[in-house]
């Protein structure tokens, strides 16, 4: 019944899109597993890995869009939630290595043996169980988001101030995780994973399963987001974005709305990070770099903020461009990325999803100009 309720909350376009995501997540792994390598429809493992990565990025973009596009909170620190989820997964994967590490210590991961740890730090306990790691993946980013949001929203830190605070947060976390005595692998991070849930991480079958899991996570994210955005709660959220003070005067507790969506978005980012780590095989502090978080914001901006399909499309397009350009013209990539930031904000404020509307508006304005001189230009909300 709940599923039916959720399903009806989505528009037809979004339903189709969610099914498309699921279809990609099912068909590609199947094409990899069932078809022989000689078949023209066989999908090689590296494509699966790439698509799996993009799906995780898309989920992160969706999380950013949920707070930015629908609630007006521009977070420049979502990369931190993503990385925290990734670290939780990394800790689980490290504990699964067991005595197969270079030093063969059954309890301590290699880097701890290397750094002369005598016993497991307290926060590593429990991570040998998957269920515990799964809870932590949701809990750790949520708690951080709750703590930050609680302070920030209550004292009405908004707009660019909030952006700068979130950026400082991820910067501080990056510095902290670079330290060896954090007990989380220092600047090398965690790598050399062996198996997940008993399956070898490197195997094609595991890759196919992870790609599928990422697609399911993204579809679930889309459904949940659509349910929130489409509900009365979502309407209030959009109203907070457009006129926060007015909502407050009308008697709504604005902080509560913001806090809820911020925490939910952080948990989604954590899941994305957790699925990302076994697919790329490494997690290190550079994931906290402020640039990563801003890039995630760009995916949303390219696809179209305030829509649910846009961020997914944006994440796929930008990352496809990145994969292609860093291979073909490596020194050109940063120029392209930088130019994209500028072009999108100047010319495509509503992203690709808003492109059609923009063209239509313009042609209508032109028609209107023919009949009535000095027509007002349509203003774009920030």
């Amino acid at each position: 019944m709940i599923t039916r309720f959720l399903w009806q909350g989505m528009g037809p376009g979004l339903r189709l899109f969610t099914l498309l995501v699921l279809a990609v997540g099912i068909l590609l792994p199947l094409a990899n597993q069932l078809l022989p390598p000689t078949s023209p429809f066989h999908v090689p493992a590296w494509v699966l890995q790439l698509i799996g990565k993009y799906l995780c990025y898309a989920l992160l973009a969706l999380a950013v869009d949920l707070v930015w596009g629908f609630c007006g909170i521009l977070s420049l620190g979502h990369g931190a939630f993503f990385a925290l989820g990734g670290y939780c997964m990394g800790m689980y994967l490290m504990r699964q290595i067991g005595s197969r590490g270079v030093y063969g210590n059954p309890l301590l991961p290699d880097f701890m043996v290397f750094l002369n740890y005598k016993q497991l730090p307290w926060f590593w306990h429990g991570f040998d169980q998957f269920w515990f790691a799964a809870i932590m993946i949701l809990l750790v980013p949520s708690v951080l988001a709750f703590a930050l949001g609680w302070f920030a929203f209550r004292s009405r830190v908004t707009g660019v101030y909030l952006s700068i605070i979130t950026q400082a947060m991820t910067f501080a976390l990056m510095l902290a995780f670079f330290r060896n005595d954090m007990g989380l692998g220092g600047n090398n991070g965690m790598t050399d994973f062996k198996e997940i849930l008993g399956f070898p991480v490197q195997a094609d079958g595991t890759r196919a399963a992870l790609c599928f899991a990422s697609a399911v996570a993204l579809a679930l994210g889309l459904v949940i987001s659509a349910a929130i955005v489409g509900s009365r709660f979502g309407k209030a959220l959009t109203a907070v974005r457009d006129a926060e003070s007015r909502m407050r005067f009308l008697g709504y507790r604005v902080e509560g709305f913001k806090l809820f969506v911020f925490v939910l978005s952080a948990a989604m980012s954590g899941v994305a990070g957790a699925l990302y780590v076994p697919q790329v095989g490494i997690i290190n502090p550079s994931e906290f770099a402020p640039g990563n978080s801003i890039e995630a914001v760009l995916w949303v901006a390219v696809g179209g903020r305030g829509t649910l399909i846009g961020p997914v499309i944006g994440a796929f397009l930008v990352n496809f461009g990145k994969t292609w350009l860093t291979g073909a013209l490596p020194e050109f990539w940063l120029f392209a990325l930088g130019a994209l930031f500028i072009v999108v904000t100047l010319l495509l404020p509503k992203g690709i999803m808003g492109l059609w509307g923009q063209i239509r508006d313009r042609s209508q304005a032109r028609k209107a100009q023919g009949s009535k001189s000095g027509a007002e230009k349509a203003r774009v909300p920030a």
Binding site: I164, A168, A176, F341, P349
Partner: protein, 537 residues
């Protein structure tokens, strides 16, 4: 008769003098020979004897012994000093100083010393060089005696104090004498007086001398005095350390001020978030690099003026780029701060990559002119000229900016546009022009900061990135739209950072400061010195 007698006296005096000199030489000869014989214990006695002879020629011999360059020639048992030249050693006679040919290592036998003896030798050389004509050598001798007091040096020291004319050297001698007294068997009263002198010196060496005296003292009153004095010195040292931290903090704060003050204009007064601000700093640093390269190749004699030449150029380059940015991008985004943030971030990526393509991604070398290198002591604080100039420069930039905003018509327009744009426009101020100039000014100041930062940081395409978050923190902490807030904010954060560093380490200190600011902004979202009234919304 008188003449005869006086001549006889003169002759006998001369004769006795010659005999004395000969005896002295013979004496030195035997002392030196003693050095080469017997066990390490015997050698120690011989070194002491040589040191107390007070003979100036003994110093180079002892130095050679300490450096392992004193040899005995196997063929004729002559004691020689050997300086290596090529495969052979050039020999000089130890006693007379005359050249004695050359020899290979196998024809000689080295006079061996151990670490203990090396310490004794150093002290002995110290007491011997007390009479050196060079004041710097004399002070060095006093210092080495202070660190390794030798009771035997008391006599030479007293003589040296009596003959000394340079007040600073005399002070050093007196302190060394006090340390020597503490190490000798002097009376309790003498020792307590000496403790007073050592206490007034008040540095780390004085502390270790006092602790040594407290440990070795037999008389209880001396021990008590030494402990009390050591405590006083410890307090003095702590005070100096705090002062040193304050100085380092001010130095760091002035760097933050330079990096943030341009931002205080663009963000603080215009409300434009410029994430490419760090890249303006980087452009300034690279301008300095280019200026220095040109000077190196075409006009090397101008090198000392290179920074002065670079300053206006860096201002123009960064300011010009700033005006281009404002006209090309930012003016379309007024009223959309989040979009401005994203667009300027993209711009910063482009600028970084452009500089990387032109200059390469490795660090570039920017030299320091002669007037910026070197250091001097203030009490126990070591002040480098480079840091001092940066502090002064930051304050000059700050003061000129304040003057510009308060006393010039451009400053008046800027403040007017900031406070009420439509009204300013209505009275005839061309607001777009003022916007461009304001942004150019902020960027130009960032360029000036780049010239200063090129002296203390690596000039690389990533130079600016390291400062952007810190700069925003300073501006937000100090209060947006308030230049004095930026000054106070920068200095406070600099000093706090440096005080946290010894306890928490550099990285953790930085993290703590960031956390502190995040919490601080929660309490006072508008910074330390908030603007009041409706204009802030």
């Amino acid at each position: 008769m008188f003449l005869f007698r006086s001549l006889a006296v003169l002759f006998s005096a001369l004769a006795s003098l010659t005999i004395a000199v000969a005896a002295l030489a013979a004496d030195l000869q035997s002392l030196v020979t003693n050095l080469t014989a017997g066990s390490f214990g015997d050698r120690e006695t011989a070194i002491g004897a040589l040191a107390s002879s007070g003979d100036a020629r003994a110093a180079p011999i002892l130095e050679a012994l300490g450096a392992g360059q004193l040899y005995v020639r196997t063929s004729d048992k002559l004691v020689v000093i050997g300086k290596p030249s090529g495969n052979q050693l050039t020999l000089t006679e130890a006693v007379s100083g005359a050249a004695a040919g050359a020899a290979t290592e196998s024809e000689l036998e080295r006079v061996r010393v151990n670490n203990r003896l090396r310490g004794i030798i150093e002290a002995a050389v110290g007491s011997l060089t007390l009479m050196s004509p060079d004041a710097r050598v004399r002070r060095g001798a006093a210092d080495s005696l202070f660190k390794r007091p030798e009771p035997a040096a008391l006599g030479p020291l007293d003589a040296a104090i009596a003959g000394e004319k340079d007040a600073r050297v005399k002070q050093a001698f007196t302190e060394a004498r006090a340390a020597v007294v503490l190490a000798s068997d002097a009376t309790a009263q003498q020792k307590i007086d000496a403790i007073g002198i050592v206490r007034d010196r008040g540095d780390r060496e004085a502390l270790s001398v006092l602790q040594g005296a407290a440990n070795n003292a037999k008389e209880p009153e001396v021990k008590a005095a030494a402990l009390a004095a050591a405590e006083t010195v410890r307090q003095t040292l702590a005070a100096w350390e705090a002062a040193q931290n304050v100085w380092y903090g001010i130095s760091l704060g002035s760097v933050l001020l330079l990096a943030a003050i341009g931002l205080a204009i663009t963000f603080g007064t215009m409300g434009v978030i410029n994430m490419a601000h760090g890249e303006m700093v980087m452009l300034g640093a690279y301008t300095t690099f280019v200026v220095q390269e040109i000077i190196r190749t075409s006009a090397p004699h101008l090198f000392d003026a290179s920074l002065l030449i670079a300053l206006p150029l860096a201002f123009l380059v960064a300011g010009g780029v700033g005006i281009l940015i404002e006209r090309g991008i930012i003016r379309f985004l007024y009223g959309r701060p989040l979009d401005t943030l994203l667009a300027t971030w993209g711009l910063s990526l482009v600028l970084q990559q452009a500089v990387r393509s032109i200059f390469g991604s490795s660090n570039r070398e920017v030299g320091a002119p002669s007037w910026m290198s070197g250091a001097f002591q203030v009490g126990q604080i070591n002040v480098t000229y480079g840091r001092l100039w940066i502090v002064i420069f930051a304050l000059i930039v700050f003061a000129s900016l304040i003057l510009l905003l308060r006393k010039t018509s451009l400053g008046l327009y800027m403040r007017a546009v900031t406070q009420n744009r439509p009204m300013a426009s209505a009275v005839g101020i061309r607001t777009p022009r003022v916007d461009a100039l304001t942004f150019g000014l902020g960027s130009g100041i960032a360029g000036l900061a780049g010239v200063a930062l090129s002296q203390i940081d690596n000039v690389s395409p990533n130079l600016g990135q390291g400062y952007i978050i810190d700069s925003f923190m300073v501006v937000v902490f100090g209060g947006v739209g308030n230049l004095f807030g930026t000054l106070i904010g920068a200095l406070t954060l600099g000093v706090v950072n440096k005080f946290l560093e010894p306890y928490a380490g550099a990285v953790l200190g930085k993290i703590l400061v960031l956390v502190f600011i995040i919490l601080f902004i929660q309490r006072r979202p508008r910074g330390l010195f908030a603007l009041k009234g409706r204009s802030v919304e």
